[in-house]
Symmetry: C2
Subunit: 504 residues, 2 copies
């Protein structure tokens, strides 16, 4: 198959190399670039984005693709196997996404979101939504326009709403008619758990040397199977994962002496993303078979490591001593079980990124409902702060008039990323369902985790998830791997088992 599609694969690989160079520009910008270079860097990044776009939309690519696919209808030409059909239809969809958006729209949207991010920062600093409001209104309007251009690219076709088109960009095949009841069930389950959990516990304010935190983080990455010959960890203001190729995957973390778990969780979280990228098949680099399936599946990898594995009783029972030895003065008198409870403290709060795993998805469901309503036109942007506060009161039982801690806390909308938030919760649901399967497939997972012997888990993930690439859709993958379609039950059961069963 690689021989047959050689010309196509060579073109895709070149686009992949160019995109990777663009990613290096971003990575460098967030890690080592001197501050004064920001304007030059923007020009370099724009130029690389233009080059990538020109490759996708150019005549050369069109010619190569049209040997296999009718460019108007997407019909396959000649005799192609099922696997080849899957390959070609994914390439065709990527190509269509590139050609359907007019360059003038792309640059107008990019210039709007660039301004909107700037204004959002000012608005957040001043805690005044009204400053950001006109920009958000434009982002919503242009997102509807974007959806109109892209509606023919939705996986499965048929009747779709504008919001479905946006969803589809991040989680192919998912519709809001599917998400709404799924999230509703989840919401009911979480609220029920929340009623039964003690949310009044306080946590100690330990001071822990950041160099030793770094050391512990590097150790866990190595245990997870992160390959430092093909990647690295650095520090940045906001942790992220970036990859140029499966052979060069870089993560960042952020360390704070007073918040050990922030840095450690983010190392493990980004490490989970990075394992996915390092596990993609390099032979298919640049093509759909060598790319991550969706944002939700990506998030399932980071969240499973962060929550199911590293925030587990087994892990801290087995490995707390290692941490204690690094911080004898701070943790010398603390037991592993106390530490485990500190790490898993549950408390409804305003800030999504600081949320525990019980309340986290309520933050996402709120954003899902609000952004969907804005795109559908049932919620005016001007009414967003009010709607935001009402939902926080109803779902999490808390309210605040502070807009910087409320409706202005996330960067996503200012970047034009409407339809992105649901992938966080999908990731949590996928993670729990996959993890249930791991417990069935691998003997004594708890024992492995307590000894930090992760390689059977990493191998399982590599084989069942990473190497699949985009050979199937997220829902097909869940069915294939777990034998059942996605539901909120595995996740809710995981929470119940962890938070509602008394310590033995």
């Amino acid at each position: 198959m690689q021989d047959r599609f050689k010309k196509l694969i060579v073109s895709l690989k070149e686009i992949g190399l160019l995109s990777g160079i663009g990613s290096l520009l971003s990575w460098d910008q967030e890690t080592y670039m001197p501050s004064g270079a920001i304007d030059v860097r923007s020009e370099q990044s724009a130029l690389m984005a233009e080059l990538v776009h020109a490759r996708w939309t150019g005549d050369a690519f069109r010619r190569v693709l049209s040997e296999w696919v009718d460019l108007d209808s997407g019909a396959f030409l000649g005799d192609v196997s099922d696997e080849e059909k899957r390959f070609l239809s994914e390439v065709y969809r990527d190509w269509k996404k590139a050609v359907l958006l007019p360059s003038s729209f792309v640059s107008a949207f990019s210039s709007l979101t660039s301004k909107a991010q700037h204004v959002w920062q000012e608005a957040r600093a001043a805690s005044r939504f009204s400053l950001f409001q006109p920009y958000l209104a434009q982002v919503v309007a242009m997102s509807r326009e974007r959806a109109d251009y892209l509606k023919s690219t939705v996986v499965g076709g048929g009747d779709v709403t504008p919001y479905d088109v946006l969803l589809n960009e991040y989680e192919p095949g998912v519709r809001s008619s599917y998400l709404t009841p799924l999230f509703q069930e989840l919401c009911v389950g979480i609220k029920d758990i929340l009623k039964k959990v003690d949310v009044t516990k306080t946590v100690p304010n330990w001071e822990m040397d950041v160099d030793r935190q770094w050391e512990f983080g590097m150790w866990i990455l190595a245990q997870m199977g992160f390959d430092f010959s093909f990647g690295r960890q650095d520090k940045s203001t906001h942790p992220f994962t970036t990859q140029f190729h499966p052979y060069d995957v870089r993560i960042t973390t952020r360390l704070d002496a007073r918040h050990f778990m922030d840095g450690f969780s983010s190392t493990v979280h980004e490490g989970g993303h990075a394992l996915y990228e390092q596990g993609l098949d390099p032979a298919w680099f640049g093509t759909p078979f060598g790319e991550a399936m969706s944002l939700g599946i990506h998030e399932s990898q980071s969240r499973m490591w962060e929550n199911q594995i590293v925030k587990s009783r087994a892990f801290w029972e087995g490995q707390f001593q290692r941490l204690q030895m690094l911080f004898p003065h701070v943790l010398g008198e603390v037991s592993w079980l106390e530490f485990y409870h500190v790490v898993n403290r549950v408390r409804p709060s305003f800030i999504r990124v600081d949320a525990d795993e019980v309340t986290y998805n309520l933050h996402i469901i709120i954003r899902y409902e609000l952004e969907k309503a804005m795109v559908d036109g049932t919620l005016a942007v001007a009414d967003l702060p009010h709607a935001w506060n009402a939902k926080y009161l109803s779902y999490l039982g808390i309210s605040s008039e502070n807009e910087s801690m409320g409706v202005l806390q996330d960067v996503h909308w200012s970047c034009g990323l409407l339809g992105y938030f649901p992938t966080y919760t999908l990731g949590n649901l996928y993670a729990a369902q996959f993890y249930g399967q791991i417990e069935r497939d691998i003997l004594d997972v708890s024992g492995l985790i307590s000894r930090a012997e992760f390689s059977p888990i990493t191998s399982w993930l590599r084989k069942n998830i990473h190497q699949v690439g985009r050979r199937m859709s997220p829902s097909e993958l869940v069915m294939k791997v777990t034998g059942e379609s996605l539901s909120s039950e595995p996740f809710l059961n995981y929470l119940r088992g962890k938070y509602l069963v008394a310590d033995s």
Copy 2:
């Protein structure tokens, strides 16, 4: 003028941005890239080089340039001022260099040198020139071919030898008929000094913490006027300077606990290069008026800081105490004058990069004579080791049969950089002549240096050298700045003053 040439400048700026991205790929490769990414990185770098070459040689650029210059003859079209003529002739020369080399030759040469570097490393490790010999023979042959393609680009035109063409790539306008007598004079002068200097002194083997060395290096960079908003320093195996734009100039250093001056000198040396790059006019970025004039002029900036300024009596008399405070246990009992003598110890040795400033240029003159003879065809590549040893014996009075410390010590020839070595010595001569002018133009330079108050010096360099860009040739610049043409006398006088006058 910028308005008039707007289209041309926009094209050049885009090429500059793309070249800068290529430089970032190299910088990252030498600093932070995980080792397993090397093959992917080579592909990315090759792709960027292709894109840059395609911009230079494409129809779009040809059209823009042909509005001002007859592409066949280089004649200016219409009414252009002298400054505009200078600008256009430099652009035309750059364009010609790009179009005169056939793509097939460029890729064959690049693949040869890539292999040659690999073999050179093995040959050096085994200390066996015979392994490298066939590759060097090919490099010499292809360099002659290269010279043949490029002979019409030599500044000044007229009769030129193949070696002159190669020289011209690095130091525009310079011929071997000019260099040979200049270097001969210099050689006589150095040998005379060498006879009178005590070359038997030994130096202590201090152990100095590398983190504190780093601190001292960062301090000197700040004093020099290196702007950390527009640049940074990192560590790498071989120190280098790379720039993507005057707003993003990065240097590296290499620290060794037992060799303080290696790291410190390299920081100051690369810092001198970096000040030049940060001092270029950003308004002319990507064009000849915003680019460094030549490798020799570049080297004059690094060497002046490294030698005339920071290895001076004044500097250590004034600043040794600062170093002493960082290393009280090691340097507590050492006087500034002892330290100054250690730093300036003279001793003929085999390794160019470790050479003191008295013997350094003899290493270069040897390489100049040998590479010129190989290109001229008067020295067979097979006879190189013998010729090398004979010259070391005659010029430096030392001999060794060890080829890895001899003929195999430098990477340059394996990279195809014939004609490059002379720019090191030109840099030293320019530096001494410029520094003489600085002593005439600025009051009490010694006092400033002893207080590490370098800003008058940096401002002088910025105004007289950095901001000139490629508005004139190196020889024109020397004449304009110092009122005299280049000679070896200022350099020899500097050495005599420093090494032959007894301590007062």
